[in-house]
Amino acid sequence: MGAVRVSHTLADSATMIRRRLKHMLRYPAMTVQLIGMPVVFLLLFVYVFGGTLGNGLGGGGRGRYLDYVTPGIILMTTVGAATSTAISVAMDTAEGIVARFRTMDISRSSILTGHVVGSMISIAISIAVVIGVALAIGFRPNAEPLEWLAAAGFLTLFVFSLTWLAVALGLAAKNPEGASNAPLLLMLLPFFGSGFVPTGSMPAALRWFAEYQPFTPAIETLRGLLMGAAIGTSAYQAVAWSAGIALVGFLWSMKLFR
């Protein structure tokens, strides 16, 4: 692996990332939907259910619920974005252009790198908008700069893992329609976790599931970092889940793309 090879891999990856970002500008409907949906969910849960749910958390009403639900909505944003990643990977792979790339002397991994990094940039923008809306309607996190930094770092890791999984799902799908279905199940996971209500309020079987699925420790970690709640072992679990999902997604993608 010579220095030229490495510099070509980097240059090819940069080219593919630029290509993906251009796609997002050309086809903004997907990006708008990506940002729009979690914002709608945020407003729905805060203004429609928030008063009652907030009181259920032990008083505090709507304002209390806004603080509780925002980390859950942020993670929901990442799942929505993963869906769009899977779809665009499936669409792209079906196009002749990827066959062309495969017959060219370029770094093959750069094609997937373009998708992963491009998606992560769009997810970062979506999350920033969601947090902006939450702040505008009264979300008041008490995180210190270091905790914000940790939250950003953790989200990057989580999004990274989810994106690789989405890339694999997109490659595995027979067509773009198929690609849009698989991550839909992921969309439900924040609901069957601590995203919207504490798991303690759920029936025993559901609670067991909620506590052992990846989104609950992820949400608890984020909530702890932003709101100062106790994180406990959630951080380790969330990081372990992320690393595991990233590894599976990466290896699966590589296997499918060879």
């Binding site: 251009k22 196009e95 002749g96 066959a99 017959t103």
Partner: protein
């Protein structure tokens, strides 16, 4: 094109199966540098599979392949660096403009920005796409997309170009433009490996033609050599009932039933299609008192080549 140069493409014993289906059963090919070589065959003959293997897209099950002097199995990257591929399905990025597609290729070939821009402008001009340069490729017509596709293939200045059915689905005018472009490329010393289902296309363009049928080469040679293998055309006579058909067969003493006619009322009679032989044919029918309902003169085409070389009349849907 001297004999001293090693062939640009050399294939021996190429085999490929998908599961139990044998797609290529021992193909041998040699394409001289700077030549236009055409692989001719009906849909499903294995043409695309050959291109996919030679262009490193899929692996072969057996055989030796050298492209531009590089061993395909041992050094696919070197092969990729020497080739350009324009596939059957448009390999352009539809969300990008024509110009952006070319710049994307320039970036992937690690050209300097200025150099890339200049090359893109030149190719847009050459392929008559300057006006559409800033429009997304999704708005291009079939012919424009195919021209852009080929322009993108040329960015890397490949020595060997694979064209998989480059004119399938194009209107006659775009087809002619494509032929001119392909000839120009070969004139500049680029080796062209072209697949087509059209005998006319192979005839007009290729220095050598190989005929692929169900995974084996059934003939190989110059278009002239190949055409000598084709018998004359035939006249198709359709009748209104079987009595008339039997009468005609008796009067002419030759001909066979056209199985593509569901009513089994069409007779194919070998003929060169010339005026004299037609007059003779009609006179004989007249003498026997048989009147065909319909008459069509059929000049030699790929159908006939297959009829002769494989002894297996393809149905009309397989060969056009």
């Amino acid at each position: 094109m001297t004999g001293a140069n090693p062939p640009a493409i050399a294939v021996t014993g190429l085999r490929k199966s998908y599961g139990d289906t044998l797609v290529l059963d021992g193909i041998d090919l040699a394409v001289a540098e700077g030549a236009i070589f055409s692989l001719l065959g009906p849909n499903g003959a294995g043409k695309t599979t050959v291109v996919q293997i030679l262009s490193t897209l899929i692996g072969a099950d057996g055989g030796d392949v050298r492209v531009a002097g590089h061993d395909l199995a041992a050094n696919p990257r070197a092969v990729r660096a020497s080739i350009g591929v324009t596939g059957q399905y448009s390999a352009v990025d539809k969300l990008l403009t024509g110009e952006e597609n070319l710049l994307l290729m320039a970036d992937l070939h690690h050209l300097r920005r200025r150099e890339g821009r200049r090359l893109a402008a030149r190719l847009l001009e050459r392929f008559d796409l300057t006006e559409a340069a800033k429009k997304p490729a999704s708005t291009y017509s079939g012919g424009m997309a195919r021209r852009l596709d080929l322009a993108m293939t040329l960015v890397g200045d490949p020595r060997v170009i694979f064209l998989d059915e480059p004119t399938t689905g194009l209107d006659p005018r775009s087809r002619r433009t494509m032929w001119r472009i392909i000839r120009d490329l070969a004139g500049n010393g680029v080796t062209i490996f072209l697949t087509t289902q059209y005998l006319e296309e192979a005839d007009r363009l290729a220095d050598r033609v190989a005929l692929l049928d169900r995974g084996t080469l059934v003939a190989e040679g110059t278009p002239e050599e190949l055409k000598r293998l084709i018998p004359g055309g035939h006249v198709a006579l359709r009748f209104t009932d079987e009595t008339a058909l039997a009468g005609a067969l008796g009067a002419l003493g030759t001909g066979f039933l056209d199985t593509s006619d569901d009513d089994r009322l069409t007779l194919r009679v070998p003929s060169d299609g010339g005026v004299a032989s037609l007059r003779d044919l009609l006179a004989r029918l007249d003498a026997a008192g048989v009147e065909p309902a319909d008459l069509a003169v059929h000049t030699p085409d790929l159908d006939d080549v297959f009829l002769t070389l494989t002894g297996d009349p393809k149905d009309g849907s397989a060969v056009r």
